[in-house]
């Protein structure tokens, strides 16, 4: 059990955004959190890294490797952010500071987390770029010189640089067109097998994750209405909202929605 939330509620002023959410993710799993815009899924993901602005009050426990993040000091939290927990955001432009090169981001990230040997940092950065299929030349180019897909690959490179235990991917394919989004998902799946890190994948369109997710949770207005194995959720949904969500999304393929072959018995 790498991450578990016990009775977590988040309020901004008197409006309750997340209502008593209990869910847990096992090590090395691809856990998908599916919910429409405004269901609070992004706020929940940011609460894990204590990235919520001040006007949000978080109750309950968020345990990462059996350590309650809410009780940690900002300094301890900073060491966790990066080494054991890292993020990829939807707005790939916004992941990078416009006037610093990709290389500078990689350098700074390692230096801040204690890797002081410049030569070794450079090698590791170049290696990270190659591992996500980006050419070495991108090391010294600025973010505006890269395409959407390339920027998202670079942010995956940064996120996995210090091989974290948990990677939170917040709607990373929403802003991309379907072909490059598809390739990003395949890259993420490949990297997960190599590093063995756990992925919390947040999206509003379950079609993006139906091939890769192990378990899926459906979220509506701050409450997790249903969660379980991919096959159970997609092929035999129980909750009315889940049925509505599955039925509303147009699909092309024949056979089971979860993509498992018909023959495989549950």
């Amino acid at each position: 059990m790498i991450l578990s939330m016990e009775q977590v509620s988040i309020r901004s002023g008197e409006k309750k955004i997340i209502d008593n959410v209990p869910f847990s993710i096992d090590k090395g799993e691809w856990f998908a959190l599916v919910g429409q815009s405004g269901s609070g899924k992004s706020i929940l993901s940011r609460a894990i890294g204590q990235l919520l602005p001040k006007n949000f009050q978080v109750e309950g426990k968020i345990l990462l490797n059996e350590e309650d993040l809410c009780s940690l000091s900002p300094k301890q939290m900073r060491t966790i952010r990066g080494q054991t927990l890292s993020y990829i955001f939807q707005d790939y432009q916004g992941t990078f500071t416009p006037f610093r090169t990709i290389g500078q981001h990689l350098e700074e990230y390692q230096k801040v987390h204690g890797n002081l040997d410049t030569r070794q940092r450079k090698i590791k950065s170049i290696e990270a770029l190659h591992s996500v299929g980006l050419d070495e030349a991108f090391y010294s180019s600025y973010p505006f010189q890269l395409s959407g897909g390339q920027l998202q690959r670079a942010s995956i490179a940064i996120a996995l640089l210090l091989s974290p235990d948990l990677l939170i991917a917040d709607e990373i394919t929403t802003a991309l067109d379907s072909v490059s989004g598809h390739r990003i998902l395949e890259l993420l799946a490949k990297k997960q097998k190599e590093i063995g890190c756990t992925i919390l994948f947040i999206t509003h369109d379950w079609r993006h994750v139906r091939r890769y997710a192990d378990r899926i949770a459906i979220m509506k207005d701050g409450v997790i209405v249903e969660s379980g194995g991919k096959h159970r959720i997609l092929d035999h949904p129980k909750h009315a909202y889940t049925k509505q969500l599955i039925h509303a999304t147009p699909i092309l393929g024949k056979g089971l929605l979860s993509g498992l072959q018909e023959v495989g018995k549950e």
Partner: protein
């Protein structure tokens, strides 16, 4: 009988980038023609060329077998009466400072003299607005609200109501459901299909979501970097002589 025929349409920007390259297709009366392509493949530019908002470099556009690419000013007036567009972002397609009812009657007030509506009837502004809101399954209480006071799904229904208010022959739908949540997407698509039958409209449905297009349209065009690379009926979707790019799109959805 072909309602809209496009022959060798080419459109490039001053920067030299060719947005639409030598495109030809026909859209028949009462048909919903799908146009699938990734962002940046020129599908929105094509829509704007058809509406004569953007000038075209070469090629010709026939509407009811009359060339319209060289018309301008008053001559365009009668062509524009029969053509409407629905954009992706409903909030940007409604003037934030006008009430819903004022936006709804805007087209009718412009064409009032030359219109003879069969389905709707303009007895008074309030009655007309009420009819339009009912046609798109919206409560008539929305008439006095402002666009930012209603949900995305409702806003898009208002733009659709505005589009059908003058009973055009063709509506260009430029990614109508891309910015809506999944459930209101489904509702808007079903509404559009119903309206097509009741008002015998024809649609050019533009989207990057092949699954949604496959659900709505009888014929599908696939566009990539300004070129038309595939054209097929819905039932031939899974044939193996489909273009490689179409196959890749199918594998994703």
């Amino acid at each position: 009988m072909s309602l809209l025929t496009v022959k060798e349409l080419t459109k490039s920007y001053q920067s030299g980038k060719v947005a639409v390259d030598y495109l030809s297709f026909t859209l028949n009366k009462g048909e919903c023609l799908g146009l699938v392509g990734e962002s940046g493949c020129g599908k929105s530019t094509l829509a704007r060329c058809l509406l004569r908002i953007e000038p075209i470099n070469s090629g010709s556009i026939y509407f009811n077998n009359e060339p319209i690419e060289s018309l301008n000013g008053r001559q365009l007036y009668s062509y524009r009466k029969k053509l409407q567009i629905v954009f992706q972002n409903p909030l940007a397609a409604l003037n934030p400072k006008l009430k819903i009812k004022d936006s709804l009657v805007d087209p009718y007030l412009e064409y009032a003299k030359e219109l003879n509506l069969s389905y709707f009837s303009f007895t008074s502004k309030a009655a007309f607005v009420k009819q339009l809101l009912e046609a798109v399954e919206l409560p008539s209480s929305l008439a006095d609200r402002y666009p930012h006071e209603i949900s995305g799904g409702q806003q898009q229904r208002v733009t659709i109501a505005r589009a059908i208010s003058i009973e055009p022959e063709l509506i260009v739908l430029d990614e109508p459901t891309a910015s809506l949540d999944v459930i209101s997407q489904r509702a808007v698509l079903t509404l559009l299909t119903e309206l097509r039958e009741t008002l015998n409209l024809s649609y050019l449905f533009i989207s990057h979501d092949l699954a949604a297009v496959n659900q709505m349209c009888q014929r599908i065009l696939v566009m990539k970097e300004g070129h038309l690379i595939d054209e097929f009926n819905r039932r031939d979707l899974f044939d193996n002589e489909r273009h490689a790019y179409t196959k890749e799109l199918i594998s994703i959805y």
